[in-house]
Subunit: 233 residues, 2 copies
């Protein structure tokens, strides 16, 4: 199974693992080790400990560089969204890592192979093994393919407000002028309604409505982001 | 002040900072920025965000390599002891970083310069700046001087049990045979007392007493560690 995994990593990601024992360790759960006492196997937890810290640093470094105006609080929220269990489990599934985990029979029957917490652990332990075997540049290349594009796809928008996301999206390729204009102010005293549009260098790119000017601006930014991302695909 | 700091870093640590703005940012608190609005200064928080992750990784990597037999739970406890606020504040004081922080007058009066939370932040932001300006090898060299020797001095012993600490201490330079022998079992039924000694390659290096065999072994390991560390100094 480790041979298959190694071939898959090579063909899919161009990664040629040198140390197969390390790779095996990264994909082996304790339950499997316990069922094969004579093989003196190791399970993934120590490598996962390292991989967790590797991911923390390179995700932090990337968003620190990419969002030079984002204050610490928002950087922290964004990182938390990116490195959480749900995100890592999704990356592990996308990379088909679930197919290669070595599990004990009981855990297999209990459905561990599709459990977010295990998939998250395996994603971290894979990164730890990659770091030890191939070095940091290999890790950076791998997460530049698997994690960072999700920023542009809006996976982590909830962690940063839409106006900030739109600004970062538009200003990646140079300075642009982003403006919000109040189009109408209506509704009733108890249910006010504001409509706002957002323009880039004078061209309207989105419109939104909300119960306050700020909410309307957020909605306009969200609409613009959605449209821009569709156009990009 | 940044000139003085840069000269100090050069003479004391052999670190020649290239980007003085970055170094200034790492040592500037928001209160100082607010008092000097015309200078358009930046404060340390974004760099601290990065430095925190840098420290997490290189501390994790070091203890992962140094303690190849330590299970994940103990690695996590040890790392938590090493990267906590109290530890980082102590390192910052030892490096005299407190003298170089740029604070607003109110914060200065309130004694912020000697506050653990600020000193911890500054230690992290210094590491972040060092990483950005000089790269990871400079960071590893710096923490190999400032942080890792504290492991041998026993700063973090509380995070790992004494028997483990003693084993790691003795086995750093190669395999040795560590044995615990029960010397006596006495006391009363309600207050039993065990005495144990510990030997390395047949030579007794410590003795301890406790209310159980395990406690006595811990005490013996602790005594041996204390003695060995004294001899080493």
């Amino acid at each position: 199974m480790i041979t298959e995994l190694s071939e898959y990593l090579s063909s899919e990601f161009g990664i040629q693992f040198k140390n197969f024992d390390l790779l095996a360790e990264a994909f082996t759960q304790a339950s499997y080790v316990n069922e094969h006492p004579k093989e003196h196997l190791k399970f993934y937890e120590r490598i996962e400990f390292l991989g967790d810290a590797v991911l923390q640093l390179y995700v932090s470094e990337y968003i620190y560089q990419r969002y030079p105006e984002l204050p610490q609080g928002k950087l922290t929220r964004l990182r938390a969204a990116m490195v959480q269990e749900k995100s890592f489990a999704a990356f592990a599934r996308e990379c088909h890592f679930d197919q290669y985990i070595r599990l004990g029979k009981g855990e297999e029957m209990a459905g561990a192979r599709n459990r977010d917490s295990l998939l998250c652990d395996i994603f971290e332990s894979f990164i730890g093994a990659l770091y030890l075997d191939q070095g940091r540049d290999a890790v950076k290349k791998f997460i530049a393919r698997v994690i960072f594009p999700k920023l542009d796809l809006g996976w982590f928008d909830h962690a940063v407000d839409s106006k900030t996301s739109l600004q970062e999206f538009l200003q990646r390729d140079g300075d642009v002028d982003i403006e919000y204009h109040l189009l109408s102010e209506g509704g009733t005293e108890n249910a006010p309604e504001f409509t706002v549009n957002v323009s880039m260098d004078g061209q309207v790119i989105g419109e939104g409505t909300g119960s306050s000017k700020k909410h309307a601006e957020m909605a306009a930014a969200q609409a613009a982001l959605k449209k821009l991302r569709q156009d990009k695909q």
